[in-house]
Subunit: 301 residues, 2 copies
């Protein structure tokens, strides 16, 4: 089958396997000292994530004519950051979620201290992998520094962590759409957008390409979170691997409860269309980006 025509699910399947194999190779073995920590780090990381962020990075690299196989290690860093934030979000003092990806969450299995430390070490590992990857001689040091900057800015107090703080502070409160969009764009959108940008940069994007990819990434990040909110209301527990309506139970604001389900769907479609529009000038090499955008708004988990 011509890779160009693989649909997004098949693309995710193939690319996800290469990410899993690379993560397994790069991370210390779970028997490495201290084994308790390495086991905890691997537990949530290999719990069946779809690897959407790495796939977006690969698709962005392809879209600008790059070879996605040359950035598998760097794409793993995205998944390490993502997993670190999931483990910390689930902690008792945060969202207090007992399940994640259909399995007991990290702190339920390994205890709270170990979950905090596993998350900490996964964050560090992301930067270790990016910096160590330079020795492969595939990317210039300038590009490595640039992607480290993008990933770090997306993850910190003005990115994911900032979004989580505002999310926690908004629980059980009436918030407006602007606040909800802040939470989403930081907690979820920033890493999705960073994935696209990182792939573009490592794939050799021109400054114009970067602008287009930035618009695509921001729009699809937004669509991703609205889709998540809709799924939280409509999906089944089996599909989600966590309780349906869990946001509502925790008093979390979502698009459906702030602007209504119809408006939420409409907004999601607008974001999807903006994403597609942003890469309109790209040729067929951007088809995986187009497929992934559709996948993101149609996924069932």
């Amino acid at each position: 089958m011509n890779e160009q025509h693989m649909n997004a699910a098949a693309y995710l399947d193939v690319k996800g396997k290469s990410v899993d194999a690379c993560l397994d190779r790069l991370l210390p073995d779970k028997a490495a000292f201290p084994p308790s920590l390495h086991e905890a780090m691997r537990y949530c990381l290999f719990a069946g994530g779809k690897r959407i962020r790495p796939a977006l990075a690969f698709a962005a690299a392809e879209a600008v004519g790059g070879n996605p196989d040359l950035l598998v290690e760097e794409a793993c860093a995205l998944e390490l950051i993502h997993t670190f934030t999931l483990i910390h979000d689930d902690l008792p003092s945060m969202d207090n979620d007992d399940f994640r990806r259909g399995m007991p969450s990290t702190h339920k299995v390994f205890g709270e201290a170990m979950a905090i430390l596993a998350g900490d070490a996964l964050q560090t590992e992301a930067f270790t992998i990016l910096a160590c990857g330079y020795s492969r001689g595939v990317h210039t040091a300038e590009r490595i520094v640039e992607v480290i900057k993008i990933l770090a800015e997306a993850s910190g107090s003005r990115g994911i962590v900032g979004g989580q703080v505002v999310d926690l502070e908004s629980e059980g409160k009436m918030i407006d759409q602007a606040r909800l969009e802040y939470i989403h764009s930081h907690k979820t959108g920033s890493l999705i957008a960073a994935s696209v940008l990182m792939g573009g940069i490592l794939g050799g994007a021109s400054p114009d390409d970067i602008q287009s990819l930035r618009r695509y990434g921001e729009a699809i990040g937004h669509a991703f979170q609205i889709a998540d909110d809709i799924l939280d209301v409509e999906g089944s527990q089996e599909q989600l691997g966590k309780s349906t309506g869990s946001d509502q139970k925790k008093g979390k604001a979502t698009y459906p409860n702030i602007i209504g389900m119809d408006e939420a769907r409409k907004k999601m479609m607008e974001c999807y269309e903006s994403a597609i529009d942003a890469i309109r000038s790209f040729d067929r090499r951007a088809d995986h980006l187009r497929d992934l955008a559709l996948y993101i708004i149609r996924r069932q988990n």
Copy 2:
């Protein structure tokens, strides 16, 4: 006064002020959104740390003929990592310490969730600052990537976080000297050694210089932790900013209780002498490294 002859305390005072000013400039203002997070991040960071790690980086750069003023931003990253680990170590699920640097610890003031997130964001900020620093045009991208690698490796599961895991798992247990040395070399030694290496690399060290600085850093990191253990037994609460004997109360193994106070002092002096010996071939430009080594074993807090 000739800077060459400033003693370590004066050196720390001057260099610490430049680090504080730089951290204040680089970190988001505490009014920056979300203000609660930025306030929490700044709280422990500006609680009067001595900035020993940045000072070691500056002194290492000087020792190899570099200009320490050119790495103030990069040295700030060391203090961000150090503070992140302090905040997380103090959490109720970890060491459960109510005081740090003479003030209520971060989770006592801002709550547990915010303390976890502030620590997370401080770690991210360290890598942000290193990667953003490249745009100043002072250091090559290759050197920036190298110091990111050193800092990340020192901080993660095979560095500080690994040490903290083994420390927690050893509480209340009889452990042998090898286990104690593992805890120390990872929890404390790794960042001290990384500070010296980072300074050396950014200062333009030769491969031979790097080997010497590595030996100096490892030895002085070891001496640092033995001195901490001795202070925990002998120092006053006022000097330490935390309770004397707190390690003992928590059932933590220390050098004095595993090998006795006399042997602990002897071991500390051996480490000091190894550190001095490692940089024996360096000229007077290494005097600040020599002064800091003496300061580390003689400090009262």
